[in-house]
């Protein structure tokens, strides 16, 4: 009898374990990158960039952010007031309020965060150790990794943020706008055969630093219908040989310009330094022989439209128009950008975001 009881107990334990495994497998099944949002009577549940499920009872009211890309999204939601602490490089979403900085953008100051008692901390997963995450979680502070760095996940991540900050309508408005123009690109390029797709050399902020297939720039190129000439390189951000670029003779060239250069971006309107930068770029040894330069298919993109979740659709349009001017001759990207600005923020667009631009 005792033996039978033991066997039964073993079976039951096994079943319970198996059940737990199945459940936990189900819980983890949202793979990394599948950002989801769901509202229920019991609260809000979203999946963040790392595939972690985040459940909160009501929209967030007090947060600390180390993610500079989040600022624009919060302003769009009208949720500037939720920020009670920020990393040093995170722009203050509401300059009229003195929001304290709590450490460097990549080194969250756990003590300072705990003192502020936010409901959640938004940071990059790579900058949060498991120990610190546990510390914060045990103090009732959620760690949320909605990184906004991969433009291909922009709509999912903004939707999740819309749920977290209680402004799903605005998030949906952005998604609608984004999808409308993503579909436009797709429609315009649907007749372009694979072999006719434009090859493109993508250069980041540093000279000859490109991107491979795993880097963020690849998503921008792919969405605009281009073929990245450095996609197969081993390094994520390879330093590419200048002579190789010459020999590959790409159909188009895009150069990202950091907002820290202070020549392109919001509120910068003087074209002279942008032109000087552009002229230096195309004056590189033998670049005058490149098809992209001869055909006028070289473009400078401000980081505001090249790398941000909200602006990337504009970057994609600029890039697509550069590569396929014929197909996009009726699209005035600057106008679309103005439309986006009005839709999201209700104000006028001021600044230089691409150079040179064609109507």
């Amino acid at each position: 009898m005792k033996n039978n009881q033991k066997r039964m107990l073993k079976w039951m334990s096994c079943m319970v374990l198996l059940g737990a495994m199945v459940l936990s497998f189900g819980g983890c099944s949202a793979s990394q990158g599948e950002t989801k949002a769901a509202d229920s009577k019991d609260g809000i549940t979203v999946t963040d960039t790392m595939g972690r499920e985040i459940a909160i009872e009501k929209p967030l009211e007090k947060i600390v952010t180390y993610n500079s890309g989040l600022t624009d999204v919060l302003v769009m939601f009208g949720a500037e007031g939720t920020v009670i602490g920020r990393g040093d490089s995170v722009p203050n979403p509401d300059p009229s309020v003195d929001v304290p900085t709590v450490g460097k953008w990549n080194e969250p100051n756990i003590e300072a965060i705990m003192e502020l008692k936010p409901e959640a901390v938004f940071t990059y997963a790579a900058n949060m150790t498991p120990e610190n995450e546990q510390l914060l979680e045990s103090a009732g502070i959620k760690c949320i990794y909605l990184e906004l760095t991969d433009v291909s996940k922009a709509t999912e991540e903004v939707t999740a943020l819309g749920a977290l900050f209680g402004n799903e309508e605005k998030a949906a408005e952005f998604v609608k706008f984004h999808d409308k123009y993503a579909e436009l690109i797709e429609k315009k390029l649907k007749n372009v055969k694979e072999e006719d797709k434009a090859s493109i050399y993508y250069e980041g902020y540093t000279d000859y630093k490109s991107v491979n297939k795993d880097a963020g720039g690849q998503a921008l190129i792919a969405a605009a219908g281009g073929i990245n000439i450095a996609a197969a390189e081993t390094a994520k951000y390879p330093e590419i040989s200048d002579e190789w670029v010459l020999e590959r003779n790409p159909d188009a060239i895009v150069k990202l310009v950091s907002s820290t250069k202070k020549i392109m971006g919001f509120d910068l309107t003087d074209e002279a330094p942008v032109k000087a930068f552009f002229d230096t770029l195309i004056a590189r040894p033998s670049w005058s022989n490149l098809a992209a330069v001869k055909d006028g298919k070289v473009i400078l993109l401000s980081s505001d439209v090249g790398t941000t979740a909200l602006g990337s659709i504009i970057g994609e349009l600029y890039l697509a128009k550069t590569m396929y001017p014929e197909q996009f001759k009726d699209v005035d990207v600057n106008k679309v950008h103005q439309e986006l600005q009005t839709t999201l923020y209700g104000d006028d667009l001021v600044g230089i975001f691409a150079y040179p631009t064609k109507k």
Binding site: S68, D88, S89, K104, W105, N106, G204, Y205, T206, D207, Y208, K209, A230, E233, T234, A235, Y237, P238, E239, I240, S241, D242, E243, W244, V245, L246, E247, N249, S258, S259, T260, K261, K262, I263, P273, A276, T280, R284, P285, S286, N289, S303
Partner: protein
């Protein structure tokens, strides 16, 4: 007695011939490496194309494209010349410093020059937009790097002079001020935006690509002038290597030569760092390799060390350009990876003997 003198003369002549032969051998090796280097790269421009491009200079060859011509003359050739000049500059700066300080661990960077230059470059990279009124254009980083390299040296010299002006004080002051600038670079990095960091990190690993023609000419002039000076004062430098007291007792103007050496090594290092970033190892090891092979006599060590430095850097850069082409490895990484085993081999061989 006369026979002994004849024998000594013969030995001296033999050693001299051997050293001259070695310098000659290095020159040939450098030319051959340059020839190999110009035929290798990430594009399909190979030996045959290079020959056609050179032939095209004399008799127009329509099979050659503008791009192929530019790859040879505007990309590979300037880069090879830069590698040779920077290798020569860093190596001779190291040779001079090791000689006057009588310290085998001294390199062009020991006295904090690289840290000072890095701080200048970091200011130009991170806060470049604020300095746009200076209108330096693409020379902003070199000018700042050079300026801070020289400033560092002046600070080191000032501190050493205020203390005892001895060689060890100078080295200590250099190391300390080097740490100060290193901390300042870290501070700039810490305060900088994530978007600017890659450019700074890239600069600090050193790169021989994209040096403007003006930079090459400046380096060429600096190296030519300093090499003439070093050869001119080679005897004095030889005597100084025996120590301060010996040099003074033999009538050498110790302070003047030391000051001059200090100035020359600063100029060579600052010019190299300004245009190519921090390339370590060459300035420490190339002079040692030279001295292991042909001795300390500055008359031979100066051209020998320049050639060893040039050869080492050119070889490293050629490997860096080709090993995982079209991606390029930073030259500083390759220099250490090929230079360190070779250096260790020479140490073991020499000690073994």
């Amino acid at each position: 007695m006369e026979q002994n003198i004849d024998q000594a003369k013969l030995n001296y002549m033999n050693k001299r011939s051997r050293k001259i032969l070695f310098v000659l051998f290095l020159s040939i090796a450098l030319v051959m490496t340059a020839v190999i280097s110009i035929t290798m790269g990430a594009s399909s421009v190979d030996l045959q194309t290079v020959l056609q491009v050179i032939g095209d200079v004399f008799a127009r060859n329509d099979a050659i494209t503008d791009i192929q011509r530019d790859i040879v003359f505007k990309i590979r050739l300037p880069r090879i010349i830069t590698a040779i000049l920077v290798g020569m500059a860093l190596s001779n700066a190291g040779l001079l410093m090791q000689g006057i300080f009588q310290n085998p661990l001294v390199s062009p960077y020991t006295l904090g020059v690289s840290n000072g230059a890095a701080f200048g470059a970091s200011l130009a990279i991170i806060f470049g937009a604020s300095f746009s009124f200076l209108n330096f254009g693409q020379f902003l980083i070199p000018v700042f790097a050079f300026g801070f390299a020289v400033l560092t040296m002046l600070m080191v010299y000032g501190v050493a002079k205020a203390a005892s002006d001895s060689s060890s004080t100078l080295i200590l002051a250099g190391v300390a001020i080097g740490y100060l600038f290193s901390a300042l670079v870290s501070l700039v990095k810490y305060l900088s935006d994530v978007k600017d960091l890659p450019e700074l990190v890239f600069w600090m690993m050193g790169s021989l690509s994209g040096v403007p023609m003006a930079g090459i000419i400046i380096m060429l002039v600096a190296i030519t002038v300093t090499m003439i000076l070093m050869m001119w004062f080679a005897w004095d430098l030889n005597i100084m290597s025996a120590g301060e007291e010996t040099a003074i007792s033999l009538g050498v103007d110790y302070k003047k030569i030391k000051m001059m050496s200090f100035g020359i090594s600063t100029l060579l290092t600052a010019v190299a760092v300004a245009f190519t970033g921090v390339i370590g190892f060459i300035g420490l090891v190339a002079p040692h390799v030279t001295k292991m092979l042909i001795g300390n006599d500055f008359r031979y060590a100066v051209p020998g060390s320049a050639l060893v430095g040039a050869l080492l850097l050119l070889t490293a850069d050629t490997i860096g350009r080709n090993i995982i082409a079209p991606t390029q490895l930073p030259v500083g990484i390759v220099t250490s990876m090929i230079g360190v085993p070779f250096f260790l081999y020479l140490i073991v061989r020499k000690r073994g003997k």
